[in-house]
Amino acid sequence: MGTMLSPLPWKLLDDVSIWTQNWSWIPKPPKGAVSFKYTNCTLCGSGCAAQVRCIEAEPVSLAGIRSDIGLGFLCPLGLVAHHLRYHPDRVTQPLVRAKGDELKPSSLDDATRVVSGKLQRLAQQTQPSDSYLAILGNRPGTAGSDALLALLARFPHAAYVGCPNDGDGVSVLGSMVEGDQDWALDIANSKMVLSFGAPLLEGWGTSGRMLAQFASSDRKTRLIHVEPNCSLTARAADVWLSIQPGSEAALALGLANVLIEAKLVDPSATCPDLEVDSPYRKLVAEFSAERVAGLTGLKPEVITQTARAIAQEGPALVISRGYVSGPVSRAEELAIQGLNFLLGNLDRPGGALARPSPSQSQVAGPTPASQPGPGVVRALAAIPDGSVELLIVDASSGNDLPPWAAVQPKLSPDQAVVVVLAGLPTAWAQRADVVVPSPVFGEAIEELPGNVDDTANSLRLSARLVDPRPGLFNLLDFVNHTAVAAGLATSPVSYEDAAKQKVAAIHQAGIGNVVSPADGQAKAVTDYSSSDELWTALAGGARWENAAPEAIKPATRRFSLAGPDSGDVERMRKAAAQRGGLADVAPSEYPLTVVSAEGWAYDSKVSPLLAKITWESGLHAERTCMINPATAAKQGVLAGTTVTVQTPSGSLDVPVTLSEEIMPGVLLLEDPTGEDQSGLMTGTDATCRVMPGRLEVA
């Protein structure tokens, strides 16, 4: 009783309650000084600028930078980029697969031996052998890729295929005119945009700028969006044209038809070399509004009104998806880009602007010694089937790669060795014979090329924020390492040195400005006393830009569809009339249409926190097949059921999500050609975005 009156039990109680609050098994975040570093994100092609908040040396969070051209946007992936290096499944050492066996941890020496042996063989081969060395590169147009091209020139048969990106449609535009230029879309200054499925609000181009320009309903640029389903972009558009999947080419030709017939454009002014009786004009004449209405499912007057709008309220800049979920269908792209010619969109503000390509530019261009060799093939389609004996794939960063199903026919059936550089065990890494660990975000300097909507010449680097573990290789450094082992090179220029040389060339030419990420202030290149100082600024996340590069602007532009048909016009006719091949298929066998999703594709495996926006909230679907409820009912399928989706080229088991945003009869698949690698979407004419399909309950 007396004890109760003493402090003893109360202090005991207090001490015990404090003890219960010592949650020793709960991590205590390390304390320290806060500092800010700057970098650019590498997790996709957008390369958004980021401010990194660090505690001592450890990055703990990222935020966007409002003064950057991306206007401060960082997508959910970018916000957790600093988690990547702790990913539990990280590739930390080389893996080698013995024939017929599985991938096993190995050593750099083993991996080097395998690859350098192949390199030697391929370099020394003589006629009539035509075995290819093929590289699927992640960022064409950088100093590293230029150095790689120079190395490839030593091989009798070599291919360098750049990763697909949003600008692939614009590359087709570039192929339709003379000259070796890059083309950029001046969307920021467009009064109107006609988008054929381009996911402008779902991570396209410079994502932050697109979101800022198009997300609000009181925007200055009108948006007409063509897409079967009601995507996030369709929802935000001023006009949403819901067409039948695969009928993009038909609609494009129909609009061209109305533009010409109704005299909404003057082809003699916009395309002076386009003859009245040319095959292209004849093709356009075949696709009247009525015919196209039947093919697309739109009313004829909607087609006419749209043509009127794009001519009179703009002229509208016509944008296609570019690659988002499959290689570009050239026939479809030609039809779409033809509209840009008719509307006179080339070489004008708000339209498509030509930039000097890196090889022509007086700055930021490769030095003469590293000019790409003439024999290096640049397109996947140009590689003969079964000819690739060594394939090196850069799967290190977030960019998409061509689907395995498109690449596999190119591999030699029995001699091929596939080498994949990866930081995480992606689906491509599972297919490899040799896996080489590569750095992830923040561990190494990486050069990021500009986006399709960036009309300036620009250079940005992703910074080295943390010390990387040893033994990591980027693409160029690994190829150099194995080339040296094969005796094909003595002291090749490393990736970082190649980038430094590029920066030195910029400094020497004295052109452009450097925008500081900390305060958004621009400083002329001429104010940097040495190229080392310029390099330090860029390696610290700053952006170099030449805002008004000397554009290539000849008096006239020769339009490749203007004259006799080289086969393109016929292919366009087929693509439009047969809805990309869908019309060939018996509806009884394949009653549905499979399309692949174009928008945000989040993989919650990248960081545990990405689950917040996928399954923890149901905000974004992941690995699912989305289907209209009426169609689901007809097929006898409930939400959450796992179904087998089949197309003529493959099949995939996937759970179903019901959504009224999907057109009846359509199955929308999330990223089917990426991680799933099911070969589901491999069609003819490299069209991998629309396939006939059917489903069965699995």
Partner: protein, 259 residues
């Protein structure tokens, strides 16, 4: 004590205005919130009911069929109720209280005993329970934010308008000899991350601030306004069907998925 200085900070009413028409459902706000506040990942087998999303973007629809179906995205965090805070009135531990200085409803997980009465009381389902201890992949604990302390299992947590950032902003102001925070000096992670500017944050008591002007506009409304919680998170929309939805509890989504 008379010689001790007492510079007082002016009281404020911190609030948010979220423009639903600008929200495009990207989810950056949700992830930025999780990174800033060390929100733990949850085992997938447990399902959405046991997930922890301090800020949750709800996808709502107008209920029509294709092609007239339209969605809207409504980010919902703790609505920072004003006059009648349901959670504060039911908590047996006083583990949550309203700050008279800022109006923020502050949750203290270290005091919480985990009865979850507040979760039942909250009409916005904005409170989340830690069913498990946090488990981060090996090494990732080094990348946690030291401004917010991680919670153990058995406690409830919710949005506090990024108190870690509030602390840092006030410390900076004190270092510079100021007692007041400049507008925009302190921004929760969600407002900072939003790419379209849909989430605006500020002092509702300051007549000149953007949020106070937007909140008193015609398009502004609050969720479940008829309950009288006087919440400090306002929403804007020009779409009547969204406004109607916000007035009543949702038929699917929220009610079904939460306990």
């Amino acid at each position: 004590m008379s010689d001790i200085k007492k510079p007082q900070t002016k009281p404020s009413r911190l609030g948010m205005v979220i423009d639903i028409d600008k929200c495009n459902g990207c989810g950056s706000c949700m992830v930025a919130c999780a990174v800033e506040n060390n929100v733990p990942p949850v085992p997938q087998a447990a399902g959405e009911r046991k997930a922890i999303t301090w800020l949750k973007v709800y996808r709502v629809s107008n209920g029509q069929e294709f092609p007239n179906h339209r969605t809207a995205f409504i980010p919902v965090s703790c609505q920072q109720c004003g006059t009648h805070t349901p959670c504060v009135s039911v908590c047996p531990q006083q583990a949550v209280d309203v700050d008279p200085q800022t109006g923020v409803v502050g949750q203290m997980p270290e005091r919480c005993l985990g009865c979850r009465y507040c979760m039942a009381a909250c009409p916005y389902h904005a409170r989340y329970f830690n069913w498990w201890d946090p488990v981060w992949p090996a090494g990732m604990e080094k990348a946690l934010n030291p401004a917010v302390s991680p919670r153990m299992r058995g406690v409830v947590e919710k949005c506090n308008f990024c108190h870690g950032r509030y602390h840092a902003a006030r410390a900076k102001a004190a270092a510079e000899g100021r007692t007041e925070l400049a507008p925009g000096e302190y921004l929760p992670a969600c407002a900072e991350a939003c790419p379209t500017g849909a989430i605006k944050f500020g002092d509702l008591a300051d007549q000149g601030s953007e949020v106070s002007q937007m909140a008193s506009g015609e398009q502004a409304f609050r969720l479940l306004e008829s309950l009288g919680t006087e919440s400090k998170v306002y929403y804007l929309t020009r779409q009547p069907w969204v406004r109607q939805l916000a007035a009543t509890p949702l038929k699917n989504g929220r009610e079904e998925k939460h306990g």
